[in-house]
């Protein structure tokens, strides 16, 4: 079977022998394929979406919101419907877009597990799933943001949004000065995943040199 070969090839990047968990996961996958519950192709396609498609959607959506005020209004009213207009099916039940302003900075977390707008941002980074982030960001968000190198002035309110399986958040950062006249494609390049979770701020300087 060709996927055996692919598997061996891709696995070689990992260190050491497979853990019992890897063996269990692999065994469940093979059993479900043998029983016709899922196909190898569906799983492979899903992996590709997570690797190549999902992680870049959020930047495109927010760049479009920056460029088109009517779309931004729609996104803030109904995130899932706005994304659908943009050709993106979010799968999750509800997407709430929260807008940063000169008065309010937003940051997202899932304290109970790791709910995250995956169809918009890909897989959550390691720190988003970490126990220390989940524990602390709701209690001391400014200190947590400082660890990401982000200093939020005292006069700005910091609002922390706790996600759940049916309700995911995305931050709409403020468009930085110096990006006037930029194409959506160029804007999208400074809209990183971390800015959409709210732990960093987009900077016009990071989009230069292109």
């Amino acid at each position: 079977m060709s996927h055996e070969h692919d598997h061996r090839h891709d696995r070689s990047h990992d260190e050491g022998p497979p853990s019992e968990w890897e063996i269990m996961s692999r065994a469940m996958q093979e059993l479900l394929i043998e029983k016709g519950v899922v196909t190898a192709e569906q799983i492979r396609a899903r992996m590709e979406k997570f690797d190549q498609d999902f992680p870049y959607r959020g930047s495109r959506v927010i760049a479009h919101a920056w460029a088109d005020p009517a779309f931004k209004r729609r996104l803030l009213q109904d995130g899932k419907a706005a994304c659908a207009d943009f050709g993106i099916d979010l799968e999750a039940d509800k997407l709430i877009a929260v807008e940063n302003t000169p008065e309010v900075h937003n940051v997202i977390v899932c304290t109970l597990c790791s709910c995250y707008p995956r169809a918009l941002l890909g897989m959550p980074p390691t720190w988003y799933k970490s126990e220390n982030y989940r524990r602390r960001v709701v209690r001391e968000p400014r200190a947590v943001l400082r660890e990401f190198g982000t200093e939020i002035p005292e006069h700005v309110t910091v609002r922390v949004h706790d996600s759940n399986a049916d309700m995911r958040y995305v931050v709409v950062p403020m468009r930085p000065a110096g990006t006037e006249g930029w194409s959506e494609e160029r804007l999208a390049r400074i809209i990183t995943r971390d800015t959409l979770v709210g732990v960093t701020l987009p900077k016009a300087s990071s989009g230069s040199g292109s």
Partner: protein
């Protein structure tokens, strides 16, 4: 059901510094994630039952890494729902283990 706070309910508790570097995912974790996501998007299993199975881990919850926890939860739900049996899983795991060993020895 007890109303006592369980280990997964950790929001607001004191914690240490955050490792702000994204460590990425191993290949098996990507595959495990794709399997789980395929199953939930096709509504073979529900996200809520997977979460419940992970939350039922109790003290073990904090000992397991993220994808170990989700793999454990998927196993629980697949067995509960009758998609696989423990015996089938044990046999298949032995087969997979043997295959990995023969690959390792062949290098």
């Amino acid at each position: 059901m007890s109303m006592e706070k369980r280990p997964h309910d950790m929001g607001g508790e004191p914690g240490g510094p955050i490792d702000t570097v994204d460590r990425g995912m191993k290949f098996w974790e990507k595959q495990a994630n794709a399997l789980r996501s395929t199953l939930t998007s096709r509504k073979v299993v529900r996200l809520d039952e997977l979460r419940r199975a992970a939350e039922d881990l109790g003290e073990r919850y904090l000992q397991l890494e993220y994808f170990e926890r989700t793999t454990h939860a998927l196993r629980t739900v697949l067995v509960e729902r009758g998609f696989i049996t423990e015996a089938e899983l044990a046999a298949k795991m032995a087969e997979v283990r043997k295959r990995y060993d023969s690959i390792a020895n062949g290098r």
